[in-house]
């Protein structure tokens, strides 16, 4: 397997990368970790005419928590897994990270690259959606923040324009008395989940469940967000809301069943964690 020929540009600055992308549009692809793009190129499922390599832009490898948590385009999965700021401010992201592929892939792949790839089977899009994050797109025309709930359009399709790059994401601080939980079922360690659930639960001052939301991966054409009103009815609500794929790994009915079971378990754990946090 050999990728089709392409031209290679090692970006010297963010401005350089954006200028080249503005010129080339959809013919060019940004190369960050490449852990989804390169396999697709090896299979020739993707044949970009040009790659703009971002790996030299070290400034984009950041995690900051001086306000809301911000994570830059070159922060790799390994950092998401290990960074103390992420464990503290976004425990849901921290909990999901070890489920993403294998250690060697996590050493190279980036969170923002994963989000821009928009694979509905992937864990991080569901997590960012559950947390109500927003994503900063930049181009030579300027910049804009895109809420996670309008970012994921379809399978491998996002709201990014052909000249835009996802440069960072922002995750809002969790409200007080909030607990989170990520659970998934996969056939083997490192496989895509048959279904995964990211849950966020906020308790009211009396300790009763206030707001709750779950986002599921591999449950439809995009990560699927479900706002829960009645926590006891949530599994059934999720089973109705999702439209999971059927393939050799599992039937749609089994995934739907799993979505319900994992929702119940994830919400229970999130409630317990919210209680412990308050």
């Amino acid at each position: 397997m050999k990728p089709a020929p392409f031209r290679y540009v090692a970006a010297e600055s963010l401005e350089h990368a954006l200028a080249v992308k503005a010129e080339q549009g959809d013919d060019a692809k940004f190369l960050a970790g490449g852990q989804s793009l390169v396999p697709a190129m090896n299979f020739r499922l993707a044949q970009p005419a040009m790659l703009i390599d971002l790996n030299g832009l070290r400034d984009l490898d950041f995690v900051r928590a001086d306000g809301p948590l911000r994570i830059g385009a070159l922060a790799r999965h390994r950092r998401i897994e290990r960074d103390a700021l992420i464990a503290q401010h976004a425990p849901l992201l921290h909990e999901a990270a070890p489920h993403v592929a294998h250690p060697q892939i996590r050493n190279r792949g980036t969170l923002c690259g994963n989000l821009a790839h928009a694979d509905p089977a992937s864990e991080f899009p569901a997590v960012v959606l559950a947390l109500g994050g927003r994503l900063r797109a930049q181009s030579t025309r300027g910049e804009r923040w895109i809420p996670a709930d309008t970012f994921f359009k379809s399978v491998f399709t996002t709201a990014l324009a052909p000249d835009e790059m996802l440069v960072e994401i922002e995750l809002p601080a969790l409200p007080p008395r909030t607990g989170t939980c990520f659970l998934e079922v996969a056939r083997r360690r490192g496989d895509y989940a048959l279904v995964g659930v990211a849950a966020v639960v906020e308790l009211d001052p009396a300790g009763k469940v206030g707001a709750a939301r779950v986002a599921l991966c591999n449950a439809g054409e995009t990560p699927t967000l479900v706002t829960v009103n009645d926590i006891d009815a949530a599994p059934e609500q999720v089973r109705r809301a999702i439209d999971p794929p059927a393939n050799v790994h599992a039937t749609a009915a089994f995934r739907r069943h799993l979505g319900g079971v994992l929702t119940r378990r994830a919400l229970q754990t999130a409630v317990a964690r919210a209680g412990a946090a308050s």
């Binding site: 852990q35 190129m41 090896n42």
Partner: protein
């Protein structure tokens, strides 16, 4: 399509190499075909099997999921760089030999490179940690038991 060649200068196992390559040349193929270091094996070529795992600046990565042009200025270690000298094995390799941590040996170079970095970080791993660290390397011969034994043995001997 006429594509310009790109210069890549990289250090592999302490030796500096410079080549001009097509951008599409995968790092695994660069190591094998350009440098003649055939210890790095190529299995699935899409990041699942782990046979091509090498160290890039000390960190295990898939050589089939990177392009050679991306390691310009980087230091690589392949399985050929493990042994301290020609007639002596690295302690991890010794442990694999003593604990029968391989059968056909195809997956072994990738496993050694993964476990080298793992033991450097975690000198006293539990069996669960070893199995988690091994999750990105497929072996179709051993059933993994003797690989886990070998890693445990290497960790024990290093203490």
């Amino acid at each position: 399509m006429n594509v310009e060649l790109v210069r890549v200068a990289t250090t592999v196992n302490g030796t500096r190499h410079e080549r001009e390559v097509e951008p599409r040349l995968l790092l695994a193929d660069f190591i094998r075909h350009e440098l003649g270091l055939t210890g790095t094996h190529v299995g699935c070529e899409h990041g699942v099997c782990g046979a091509c795992t090498i160290l890039v600046d000390g960190v295990p990565m898939r050589a089939c999921l990177m392009f050679a042009v991306q390691v310009n200025g980087r230091a690589l270690t392949t399985v050929e760089g493990l042994a301290p000298e020609r007639d002596r094995l690295h302690p991890l390799q010794e442990a694999f030999r003593d604990a029968h941590g391989l059968q056909c040996g195809f997956c072994t170079p990738g496993i050694l490179m993964t476990m080298k970095a793992f033991l450097d970080e975690n000198a006293n791993p539990s069996e669960a940690e070893i199995r988690e660290a091994l999750s990105g390397n497929l072996c179709r011969c051993t059933g993994y038991q003797h690989i886990v034994d070998a890693v445990k043995l290497a960790a024990e001997r290093a203490r």
